[in-house]
Amino acid sequence: MKYPYFPGCTLYTKAKKLDDAGRECSLKLGFELEELKDWTCCGATFPLVNDQHITMSGPTRILADTKDQGNDKLVTLCSVCFNVLKRTNHVMLNDEERRAKITDFIERDYHGEVEVLHYLQLLRDEIGFDVLKEKVVKPLEGLKVACYYGCLLLRPVKEIGLDSMEDPTIFEDFIRALGGEPIEFPYKVECCGAFQAVYSMDTATRCSRDILRSAKNCGADVVITTCPLCQFNLDDRQPEIQKSDPGFSSIPVVYFTQLLALALGLSAEDLGFERNLIDPLPLLQEKGIIA
């Protein structure tokens, strides 16, 4: 089974490990991510004002290409791409006036025919977590995982519709299928500060601190995410957090596909953990997940 796949800019460079592991795991699970031809950046932000159409032309073109290449689905791994493409598609489906403006401008015929799916959703709804569980060769036994959703995977819930806004469970169910132990922590749907990382660093540091503290206080060994921007903020801000809070002890922040890859028996050496600021390898060794 092949699924059309949109990697996005960051997954080609800074978040290569999120992409590599996702593709490798798909083969182990019996499907293939087929990269969309001639894709461009999604724009990384969905325009939140009604009179800004130009920034939707990029994602609309991606969706129209997907359709014209003979597909009715498009899979993403990055939460940001997922949010932008999904929300753009919502406009294409429901807002005739804006759709006409944008499709006229890019000279394409598109009416929202493509269903945008996140990889997690694909695992849950098309593959099934029960099937995933059977494919696990190295269960993540004894690993306490804080499943951090952040914003863009869930909100706005009426347009994204992946899971409950306040109490989602898809990520926890995923970790259970891998044999790990998801922990509940109150900050799982809070924001990491997102793009404030380029403007108000204090916001990104404080938001990340609150999330990581909450996860640690609830007993987490590791935090997982689907988003390269969340991974960056939560990992990169930790030295700064330690400066203002000497009692803070660091915690690794990894991509969900990296844990998936380990559970499916892929070698840790190929998973790009060396790019993590807070090294997850000692923890994974201690838990007996890697040699």
Partner: protein, 138 residues
């Protein structure tokens, strides 16, 4: 301090423009404060999200136009998710930002050269692109 509220301000061009491009009706808000309670950026804000809406209801253009809050909003949409009246403040904050960004023009936006090489080597592209679209230089 005495605050003068006038009909002309409440129905003024600026406030109307913010309402138009955000698509939000400020008068749906009854000031419960849920948005401000859940907002991750309030520590860095000068006006709480609920205050921004209140000031817009009252037409206090200058106070809103010059607030810091719009720039530290992370567009996480928690305010919208928890608003019992369905007001999407992330759209209002974006409207305030884009009106200022349009005044300044594209040359005035954050530029990639504003960041150190070390930071650029670490930060993901999505942060840079969002930053370029949402901010003026610090």
């Amino acid at each position: 301090m005495k605050t003068v509220i006038s009909r002309s301000q409440v129905k003024g061009d600026f406030v109307s423009k913010v309402a138009e491009i955000s698509g939000e009706n400020f008068f749906n808000c009854y000031q419960c404060g849920n948005c401000s309670a859940g907002c991750p950026s309030v520590d860095e804000m000068d006006l709480l999200p609920s205050q921004v809406v209140r000031y817009l209801q009252l037409g206090l253009e200058d106070e809103v136009k010059n607030c810091k809050s719009m720039w530290v909003c992370a567009a996480c949409m928690m305010c919208h998710a928890r608003c019992p009246k369905g007001v999407d403040i992330s759209k209002i904050m974006e409207a305030l930002r884009v009106l200022r960004l349009r005044e300044v023009g594209a040359e005035g936006h954050i530029d990639v050269t504003d960041f150190s090489d070390d930071y650029l080597a670490r930060a993901p592209q999505i942060a840079m692109i969002s930053g370029y679209r949402k901010f003026l230089p610090l």
